[in-house]
């Protein structure tokens, strides 16, 4: 080491770090940093999520109408709904609608996903087509279905009566309660299948092919491979998709409102359409909000059941011992 280098090293050793400014120290303080980083997210959630939800719930406890902010009336809205047969009809419809469509959507969606999981020609093209009902705006497809269900111009009636001669009269799809309900169920299934099929297909593709090969060598038949390999390994994603599907269907509004507007005789009103009907065209904001709030417990229960009932699997947990 020569003289200048030695001098430099001595000088370096004699250097004393200046204390940080209070601002630097503040930002080095972890609780402050956490708070400041959380603030934008928390603020956005508060303004755009919590406020409307809170307002909706608050409205449910008031007698607000359009143009009148209303006053707190406690449980009056819920008490009057309790004695309202139309409300209970909408609850019944919502359950039938959700239950029946979910079963059909899952049966057909899983079947479609299994088909698409095979090596078929034009696979990408067929997958794109399957996704189509999901891409079209709901209102647009609702209008298409409304046309299909039309009493005079229905293509279904035309084919059955004029072409095949299997029926002697046109079907009144939307004119009677049960026919209207089934018509809506068909439209909802048509619209809901792509979501189920594509997500379950994604789930199927996470199952390694070697598991099927191992099962094949172990002597499992096609049905046994489906039941013993596919179903259990698909269960985690199936439960998530099921939860989402139940939520979407339970809160469905567009399709029903665009096709039947709850008719005939309120027989196809879901809780969501009834809530809107009472709140906006009927101008009873408080009562409409109460119907919407009444959906919350059902949704929470449905979510808990599907998510915890089907979603958690012991084999997915990574703990060393159990």
């Amino acid at each position: 080491m020569d003289a200048t280098a030695q001098a430099a090293s001595v000088q370096r050793l004699s250097f004393v770090r200046q204390p940080d400014s209070w601002l630097v120290r503040l930002f080095d303080y972890k609780p402050f940093l956490v708070a400041i980083c959380m603030l934008p997210t928390a603020g956005l959630l508060l303004v755009f999520l919590t406020y409307p939800l809170g307002l909706g719930i608050w409205l449910a406890f008031t007698d607000a109408t359009i143009g009148n902010p209303g006053e707190f009336v406690g449980l009056d809205n819920f008490i009057s709904l309790w004695d309202d047969p139309v409300f209970w009809l909408s609850v019944f419809n919502t359950f039938v609608y959700t239950f029946v469509t979910t079963i059909i959507k899952f049966a057909l969606g899983l079947w479609l996903a299994l088909l698409l999981n095979h090596h078929i020609p034009f696979k990408a093209f067929i997958r794109a087509i399957v996704l189509l009902p999901f891409i079209v705006p709901t209102v647009l497809s609702a209008i298409a279905w409304w046309w299909i269900f039309s009493p005079q111009f229905s293509i279904v009636s035309y084919v059955l009566v004029d072409r095949l001669g299997w029926l002697d009269h046109y079907i009144n799809f939307l004119g009677t309660p049960w026919a209207a309900r089934w018509s809506l169920i068909v439209a909802n299934v048509w619209r809901g299948i792509p979501f189920i099929a594509i997500t379950l297909l994604a789930g199927l593709q996470t199952i390694p092919p070697s598991l099927y090969e191992a099962a094949l060598l172990d002597g499992a038949s096609g049905w046994q491979r489906f039941r013993r390999i596919t179903v259990p390994l698909l269960m985690p994603i199936l439960s998530v998709v099921l939860t989402l599907s139940v939520l979407f269907t339970f809160t469905d509004f567009q399709l029903v409102y665009a096709i039947t507007r709850g008719g005939p005789f309120n027989s196809t009103h879901l809780m969501a359409t009834l809530a809107f009907q009472r709140a906006i065209p009927g101008s009873q904001l408080g009562e409409g909000a109460a119907i919407a709030v009444a959906m919350i417990p059902f949704l929470v229960a449905a979510t808990l059941v599907t998510y915890f009932g089907l979603g958690r699997r012991k084999w997915q947990q990574g703990e060393a011992n159990d």
């Binding site: 390694p208 090969e213 191992a214 094949l216 060598l217 172990d218 499992a220 084999w315 990574g318 159990d322």
Partner: protein, 356 residues
């Protein structure tokens, strides 16, 4: 237990043929290893024996029965996959019992088989665990346990050790060999690692781009490789090749260095004078001798048990491995002599060995 006979088997995916007529005979109870670089068709051949790929032409017979059109579950074989293919949603016990459950075996038989296999593999304490809760080596054992439980005629192993770390691989190698000695079942084992092949096999099948290059016992392949491919593939570090010509009963490299030939002659026969040839010598078959060839040292790599030296003979780079410690520095010249009894000579055009 059964023998396996593969006769002139071909496999084509679409218009691409990946196996060009492979014939291998495997004796009952033999441990046979298919070895070759990636894409040589060894795994495809194994999967054809398992019945996971169909056979484009030729015959595969297990125990004297042609199985070309026999479904996998009736071939009485068990396979251990590279990624183990354990059912993640089943415990170790259920994984091992699956094939017997599918065969509708009585519960007592299933329990007994699983218990015995678990005992052989040291899995008895892990039977209630899920695959996620096991280490790589334990998963490997469960995969083998699943095969053992079935008591098959033939075990098929598809690169079973390639997902393990080096130390565990050495340990599992010994365990699989021991397992074979204990069960005495025919094993077909695929690997790209020639060390695995050398250490475990009764018989090695060396494959390259859809063809069988040589079949033989491990030391036979090491001592007398039939061609340049086998010579370069078997043995670690790999054999040195020097290109040149046979001239007047001597070998001269392309840059003019004369190399000593075996005392028994080179066996190339007449009419090969001046023909291009390849001189092969394994790194471990060089000796430090003052009267040897002068070589220029590039790199010295001591491994403790031996010293590897990368050096140049003329223009050609060679690797020598000495048992003694070499204190040479890069740029220096040392004198090395090939053990002439262990020199291999190959025809440069066909790659075939000249028999001496």
């Amino acid at each position: 237990m059964a023998n396996v006979t593969i006769t002139n088997v071909r496999k084509a995916f679409g218009s691409t043929e990946v196996l060009h007529g492979v014939s291998v005979g495997i004796e009952d109870g033999e441990f046979v290893i298919l070895v070759g670089p990636s894409g040589c068709g060894k795994s495809t051949l194994l999967r054809m024996i398992a019945g996971l790929e169909n056979i484009s032409s030729g015959d595969i017979a297990i125990g004297g029965r042609v199985v070309n059109n026999v479904p996998p579950k009736e071939r009485d074989i068990a396979m251990v996959f590279q990624n183990y293919a354990l059912y993640p949603h089943m415990t170790v016990r259920d994984n091992m019992a699956f094939s017997l459950v599918m065969a509708k075996a009585p519960q007592a038989v299933i329990d007994e088989h699983v218990r015995r296999a678990a005992q052989i593999l040291g899995l008895s304490d892990l039977l209630h665990r899920y695959p996620r809760q096991l280490s790589g080596g334990q998963r490997q054992r469960v995969a083998m346990g699943r095969a053992i439980v079935r008591d098959p005629q033939v075990f098929l192993f598809d690169e079973p050790l390639s997902n393990l770390d080096a130390k565990l691989r050495v340990q599992m190698r010994a365990e699989i060999k021991e397992l074979h000695q204990r069960l005495n079942t025919t094993i077909m084992y695929v690997t790209h690692d020639q060390i695995e092949a050398m250490t475990m096999a009764d018989k090695i099948v060396v494959m390259n781009s859809g063809n069988v290059e040589q079949i033989g016992e491990p030391l036979e392949l090491y001592d007398r490789p039939a061609n340049l491919f086998v010579a370069g593939f078997i043995g670690s570090p790999a054999m040195n090749f020097l290109r040149g010509q046979l001239r007047d009963g001597a070998f001269v490299t392309n840059d003019g260095v004369a190399l000593p030939l075996p005392p028994t002659g080179h066996g190339a026969g007449n009419g090969t004078d001046g023909a291009p040839a390849v001189y092969g010598i394994r790194p471990e078959h060089f000796q430090l001798r003052p009267d040897g060839l002068p070589v220029t040292v590039h790199v010295v790599e001591p491994t403790g048990s031996e010293t590897q030296v990368i050096a140049n003979i003329g223009e050609t780079q060679i690797l020598c491995a000495f048992r003694e410690r070499v204190m040479a520095r890069p740029g220096e010249t040392i004198h090395v002599a090939p053990d002439t009894a262990l020199v291999h000579l190959f025809d440069a055009d066909s790659g075939r060995r000249y028999d001496s």
